[in-house]
Each structure stands twice: as structure tokens, then as C-alpha cells.
Symmetry: D2
Subunit: 292 residues, 4 copies
């Protein structure tokens, strides 16, 4: 089948390749003319037969909003827009409503797979009405990993991004779990081969996982991670997971602790610990460390 | 080779079977005469050729202490005791010292694999001197999963149990990660197929793992876990992990949160939340819920 | 001076009384005619001399929005609206902008004091432009406790509610601190007089505070809090504090833990701990507790 | 009455002064001859009339153990030792048993008050048998603050130190509460006078406390705490509180978070966050920050 694909960066570019390998026609658009198949969104829309399917794969927020607004003007009733970016699930309903007024369908797709997706396939979590989701099945089949897993129609509009967001929240806490264990093992003297302990865990243990395999890869490149700083960005979905938990009065202590650990990692000096130091000094005369 | 194996319960019984399948001779002892090969520890020791290797697989704490004390009296210089139970790493040095005085070697082995070990093999984390560990290689080979993983000589005496303890600490936080994500997904209305979302994650995602596979198994048996109470025991190793972290001034927020969540799950009513309710009532006249 | 006061519930009613005691004229409006001085907002506005000052003291959210919208229609350029409710700080800018178009000033005031305010005074945290805040000084003086504390012009529009929100976030964690300590003391056998331990802390300790005094009051009424359930509501400001922290990438582990403990206290059974129980059963054959 | 007092440092020296001001006789011993009243423990014991009361005020651990061992040899049946240091509660039973064999009584006293104690009095939490505690009442009266608070006979041997330990655990979380709130206020732009917000809270608010007063003092000295590093030591009692919680399966999320925040504040670079950075790089190609 035909697909329009907007955004041909690290993710979108590989997705175009994987869908084409499955025998489908992809017309890709990117602001970078070197990778783009067409010169404009208008040209992309023109080249597709109706009913059109246009997959948006650009950064969440303003960029996605702008593209969806433009598509709302260019597309026709019966066409469908798929948002495959990392949009906040609360944006999905707004997009579905705005496009719906014009008779254009909307599907949200959470996509996991990172740099490994071209080879292994992309896991897809999809939200939307059945009538909009079903016709896209050949594309989802092309993108997903082989075998019975890696694709789910999770529910209504928003359910795809919500599921992907929770996936990332879980990912935060799993990474934190390995990271905490690694730091503790590196700290004690009796354990002399922490990297080999991690490697041994790859089979037969309760904690074997793909993330553990990646941890071993990282330790093979740099046994004590001496080349790295303990500095971790966060991409938004961990924050949204905690916000969704607050909205729903669900306690998420491990995921939230993982998010906060990243926040703290980016502070050169911790303001709150200055206050702790100041208070200890006030009541107990405890020494404080002065700035140079 | 020959091995004495003390403790033939859920773990020990299956381990005897797996070692025998590999062609070794195992003489097992258990207080339960129905499963025991010999009538006493003395008989077990008598039946083994020197230098003897005796693997202790009984509950951590008093039971392990008692068996090791008895073996200290029965064994001879050049023999080796392996503690494969879930002992606290701090006990290992004591055991090694007490046996060492008598010329008996000591090796600690953390064993992972649970009820799946007979089939898939047991992951082994081993601590001890090379001279005591090396001769046991054929036994470790028999127990471990096939392939390059599942066995490590982690370091000195204590390193095996310490590594296994950290493994369990990581396990706590990974389980908590999936559990938090599952609760949040079950709570929101847009996501209509939480079980299928979990199933889809088994391929192509960052969070695929053996624990995730088990979660899907559990949801296949009881889609919303309605038959279960939200009640979780803890077996000691999570506690020790946090204690080790405190000893070493290592922050473990996610693992500790996971342990505390289990503590709270076992309280019919939370004393600390009574105090919160009482204080809210005191300063704000907020309503409190009375006991019936 | 003259003040219009809308909302004469637990808080507003006492505030009217305290302002009147200071010699000012308060015209109060409430939907409940038994406590109201006038029959409608229109009548309230009519009875005030320009420039008017109208203090809104109704529940945050829809109720506050409705009243402010109505006041926008009734008031005149040069008048000022004060929102003294527990509004989210993000609403303040919207209100200030909507009223500002009409030449009406807006001031946000976080008010603390609860049922003790009539007697002790209300602590006030105020946000807004100096030109709108200054003329209200006599009212703030009347409401605040005697002495040098209890009033601050915290900053721009929104700063009052933001400061009050953070006050409440701190309050959550302080209450949690005492609650955790109390539970631990109640649990150990050597400490036989937990209530008296708390009482003794009221002087000479680092942790003496008004909340501690209230805890002792509560324990005097019910030594082991046996009449209460461990169930705690939350009023929104704790949630907003965590959301503000996430927006600003500030780690708030203690305040967030306090919020999550309240969420958990309201669950009859914990879904996430069902998943933990299910996983433990899957990999280790550990017993689970079934629902009856 | 007469008291022997061992250890005349910051705490002990001021306590000697306060007890003397109340009209009692204190014979003090310190290794530093400039502040000591006698040349040796033996001389101190010799100068006291039987039954003797000897208060030990030296660092917890080895120093306290050594002094108590020596007193066990020097004192006579009927005498009493008071440990006023910050000993772990688990040491108290050992000390009571060792002295008890010799007919010497033992009382444990948790002492709070820091550098302010000489002026304001010391809060005392005492554990031990009534027969040993009662005769010491005049000393406790001299040390404690005036008024009805500041002294409690908390329970059996160990209850004094346990109560003091929990006091310090609560203190950790209260300090963390103010510190988190302060950091958040400093971060947002609308709040222009964070120090004045804190000052205003000193009356009429739910969170007024002595620690808040100290926070204001600290901010008066250095409004944004720019002279300090965000580095906080911990003195042992926070760690023991968490360990006691683990022993008793009591969840202490806020206190533990406060302890972990201090651990993290002392790390130049976080090993666990290196692992997070490494994993993000492995699966997503996310950039990492390299060490220079």
C-alpha cells in the first residue's frame, strides 16, 4: 500500500527503509531536501491516492502540531493521519477532534525500537477507532518485529501514546534498578569482577533482559564507565508518566525516584543540600563545606 | 565427580537431579528420610572419598549455621564446604574463618533459577579462593545453563552471596517497575487491553525481559489479577541490599521504594497514615474515617 | 476600609469576623442566605464605594472561575479582585490577564491558618503588582497574626498561591516525618510510652514545632489512634507541588513520598502489589494470598 | 547531688556547666587535661561517694565501649553508669548486661539540644529500670529545659537511645522538607523574595517550627546560600533509623529519601547515573557527557 511519511530523521529514515523492504510505497518528506522524496507537504499529498495515509514522525509539541495543522488543510475526508512521534497522550484527543471535524481520521502510535528498529523491527502501540486502525495493518505488519509480539491496538485515541509513555516509565525504573545494583557492587571490595557478574546474569537469572544485555555491552566498552559523567537527560515521557499517576492517584515510587535521580544528576550543586548543610550548621555547629 | 548435598527441598532436590543427569555422583541428605540417600550427616561424610565436597542447601540463618558447625566436626583438612543457600554475605567470612582453622575450605554460591532451574539451569555466583573454587568446576558446569553465561567467580569469600543479594535487590525494583506501570494502565480508560499491551512488549521494546514474559503468563491466567490480594512477602535479601547500601553510603531509592511497598502491602491499616489523618483533623478540621 | 468578601464558609466566615474586629467594614456574600449580608454579587458590588476591593474565598477551580468571571462583568476599572482560595498558581495569570483587560486589578493570596486563624491570625502569602497590593495593607494587617511575621508580598501575580502551595508541600513531608517516627516507636517493645516521648519533644529538641504540639493533642485524645483508619485525603496542593517540581526539574523525594503514601492509604487493595505477588508466584512458586 | 561526667567536649562541657549552675557537684574527666577536673577515671571514681553516678558523654562506638569497660572494673555494686552519647540502641542491652553482672546499674539517655543546650536546656529521653532512673532525677531536672517538657522516661534499657534516634530520623525528613520547598521556590521566577516567604511562615502557618526559625537565620546570613556547597554529612542515627525500620518491616519513605539525598550530595559524580547514561546511549544513541 501507499504511505506518506513526514520526518526522515534517525527514526523516520529507518522506518521508510523498513516499510519499503516489505514492498510498500513510501513517499517521504523532510525539511532536509537531501533525504526528502518531495519538495513540500502539498506535493506529498498530491502524489498519494485517496484515501491517503500520512504518518507524522517529527518531534512532539510544536513541530507535530504544525504538521498536523497543515495536513488538516491539505487532506480530504476519508484520509487518515498517524502521529508516530512521542506526543503527550493529552494532545491526541485534541488532534483527533480537530481532524475529525474535517472528516479526517486520526491514529496515535507509540513506537519503540530506537537505533535497533531497522534490523529488529519496531514495537507499536496504537490508539484509535477500529475503522481508522484496520486499514493500516499492512504498514504495522511491515514495521513490527517478526513473530506474535510487538504490535497492539491498545484502545481509543490516546491509548497508543499512553501505553508507550508507560513503557518508558517502566524503562526508567528498570534502568535505575540495574544502575543501583551496579553502583553497590562496584563499591564493595569482595566483588572483584562486577562486569563478569553482570555478564553471568544474562542466562538463568530472574533479571535477564535486553537492557541487561546492553549494560554488558556498555561495560565491555568501558569496564568501570570511567569515560562517562554521571549525567542523564530525560525526554519528557518519564515526567508525563508521573503526572498521569498524580492525576489518577496512583503511587509510583520507583518510577518517580528514577526520574528524580536524573534531575539531581544534572545539578552541579544541589540547592536543597545547601539548605541541609546550613541547618546542620545552625543547630549543631556542624562544619559546612564552603565554596572555593 | 562426587558431591555431598545437604537439603533436598524444592531447590536442593532439583539440583541433585540436574547434577546426576550430568553424570556425577550425588549423595543427598535431608531430615526427611523419604527423599534422603543417607541416614545422617556422618553417613554422608563417610560415603564420600577425600577430598570431599559438601554443598549445603538449607535455609539461611540457624539451619545453615547448625549444618556448617556439624560439618566442621565431621570433615577433614582438604575438604570443602559450599554454602548454596541464601545466607547473608556477612556470615560467609565467619564460616570461612571457622572452617579455615580446621583446614577445611569454604565457598559461597548464590543460586538463582527457582522452579525453572531443573530445566533451564541455575545461575551461579561464586565467592572464595581459587584453590577451593577450581575443583568444583564440573559441578558448576552441571548446574549452570548451557552457553556462555550463568556462572561467575565473583571474587573473594562472600562475593557470591553478595552478588546474588544484589541480583535480588535489582529484581525487586524491576518487578516494582512493571507493577507500577500495570496499575497505571489499568486505571486509565483509554487503554482497553492492558494485557495485550503487556504481551506486545515482549518483542522489539526496550523493556522486554523474562520477568515481562512471566507477567504475561500471570495475566493470561487472571487478566486483572482479581483472584489475588495485593500482599507481598519479602525474603530477606531485599532488606540486606538496603542495609549494604547504608553501610556503603550508596543511595538506592528505587530498590528501597520497592521494599517499602511490600512492607506496606502487609499492613491491614497503616499506623503512619492514622497519624496523618489525626494531624489533618487537628489543624484543619478535616474529616477522618473512623474505625467501625 | 471597606471589603467585599465572597464565600463565608469555615474559612471566610472567620475571616469576616477577624477583619471586623479590626474595625473595618466587611460586606459578605454567600449562597447560603443565613450567613450572607447581601442577596447577590450585584448587591455586594453596589454597596461598596469605588475603588472596590473584593476578596474571593470559594473552592478552587470552577467555583472560583465562575465568581471571577461574574466580578469581571460587575466591577469597574480601578477595582481589585483578591483570590484567597487555594487556586492553582497557573490560574492566577489567566485571571489577572482577563481582569486586566477591563482595568481591574488582581491579587492572589495564599492563606494559612485553618480553624485556628480567627484566634491566632492567618498567615498570608501575596502575589501581584505593588499598585494593587499596597492599598490592601490594612486588610492584610487585620488578618495576619500579631508581630513581625505572617505576611509577605512574595512577588508577581501567582507568587502568593505558589508560595502557599509549597507551604503545603512542606507540610505534607513534615507530617509524614512525624508519622513515620511515631509508627516506628509504636512498633518496638522497649519504648513503652510513645505518647510521652512525643510530649517530651515539645521543648529543647530540634524537632519542636506546632505540628508536634498538634500530634500530642491527638495522642491525648486517643493514645494509639485506635479510633481512626489509616486513610488520608489530599487536597490538590501536594499534587501541584510535585507537578511544579517536574516542570522545573527539581527533585522532591520526601514530599512526593508523602503524597504517594496518601494515595496508597486510600486503596483497599493495591493493584501493583497484586502484580508483585503474581510475579513472585510465577518465578519462585511463592505462595500468594487469594481473595476470599 | 554528685555526678561524675566523662567527656568534656562541646556537649559535655556545657552540660557540666548547666548541672553546676543548678547547685550540684560535678567531677569531670576528659583526656584533655586543660578541661579535666581529675587526672584519671580512677581518680574520678575515688572522689565520688557511693552509690556513684557516672555519666559517659564520649563518641559512640569504641570510645564509649572502652570507657564503660573501664568503669565496669572501677565501680562497685550499687553504682550506676549513664550513657548519654549517641550510642546505637543495640549496644545498650549489651552494656546493661555486662554491668549488671557486677551489680552496676545502667541507664541510657538520648540528649538533644546541640549548641543551644546550655542556655535553653537539653531534651532528655531516658531508658532503664525505674530503680536506676529515679535517683538521677535531680540531674535530669538540672539539664532539661524549664517547664513541663523536655524529659521522658521512655521505657526499658535502650528506649532512651531508640527515642533519640527516631527524633533524629524525624529531623532528617523535616530538614529535607524545608530544603525541597526552598529549592523549588528559588527556582521559579514569580517568587521574588524567597527569604521573606520563609520569614513570613514563622507565625500563623502549619509549618512553623524551630527548624524554620533556624532556616531564616541561615538565609539572613547568606540569602541564597551561595557561600555553601550542597554537601551534607550524616552522623549515624539516620542510618540506624532506617535499619530499625527494616528490622521491623515499617516503611519509612520520607526519612529514607532524606538519608539517600545526603549520600548523593557527597558524590562528586554518581556511578549509577553513569550506568543510566551508558544504557541510554546503547539503546537510543543518546549523547553522553564525557569526562574531560
Amino acid at each position: 500500500m501507499q504511505l506518506g511519511l513526514i520526518g526522515l530523521g534517525k527514526m523516520g529514515g529507518n522506518m521508510r527503509e523498513r516499510i519499503r523492504r516489505a514492498g510498500h510505497t513510501v513517499i517521504g518528506y523532510d525539511r532536509n531536501p537531501e533525504v526528502s522524496d518531495v519538495k513540500s507537504l502539498a506535493e506529498l499529498v498530491e502524489k498519494l491516492d485517496a484515501p491517503r495515509h500520512v504518518w507524522v514522525m517529527v518531534p512532539a509539541g510544536t513541530a507535530t502540531q504544525t504538521v498536523i495543522d497543515e495536513l488538516g488543510d491539505l487532506l480530504e475526508p476519508g484520509d487518515t493521519v498517524i502521529d508516530g512521534g512521542n506526543s503527550r497522550w493529552t494532545d491526541d484527543e485534541k488532534h483527533a477532534a480537530a481532524l475529525g471535524i474535517k472528516g479526517i481520521g486520526f491514529v496515535d502510535a507509540g513506537v519503540s525500537g530506537g537505533v535497533w528498529g531497522l534490523e529488529n523491527g519496531y514495537a507499536l502501540m496504537v490508539g484509535g477507532d477500529k475503522q481508522h486502525v484496520e486499514p493500516l495493518k499492512p504498514i504495522f505488519e511491515a514495521l513490527k518485529p517478526e513473530g506474535p509480539y510487538g504490535y497492539v491496538h491498545a484502545g481509543r485515541v490516546g491509548a497508543g501514546h499512553f501505553s508507550k509513555m508507560v513503557h518508558n516509565g517502566i524503562e526508567y525504573a528498570m534502568m535505575q534498578a540495574y544502575a543501583e545494583g551496579w553502583e553497590l557492587l562496584e563499591k564493595v571490595h569482595s566483588v572483584e569482577n562486577v562486569r563478569e557478574v553482570f555478564r553471568s546474569w544474562q542466562e538463568g537469572t530472574v533479571i535477564r533482559s535486553w537492557l541487561l544485555d546492553l549494560a554488558v555491552n556498555a561495560l565491555d566498552e568501558d569496564e568501570h564507565l570511567e569515560k562517562l559523567r554521571g549525567y542523564a537527560e530525560d525526554s519528557g515521557e518519564g515526567r508525563w508518566t508521573v503526572e498521569a499517576a498524580i492525576d489518577n492517584a496512583v503511587p509510583l515510587p520507583a518510577i518517580t525516584a528514577s526520574l528524580f535521580a536524573r534531575f539531581a544528576s544534572r545539578q552541579d550543586d544541589s540547592p536543597q543540600m545547601k539548605m541541609i548543610a546550613a541547618l546542620r550548621n545552625q543547630f549543631g555547629g556542624h562544619a559546612v563545606e564552603k565554596k572555593d
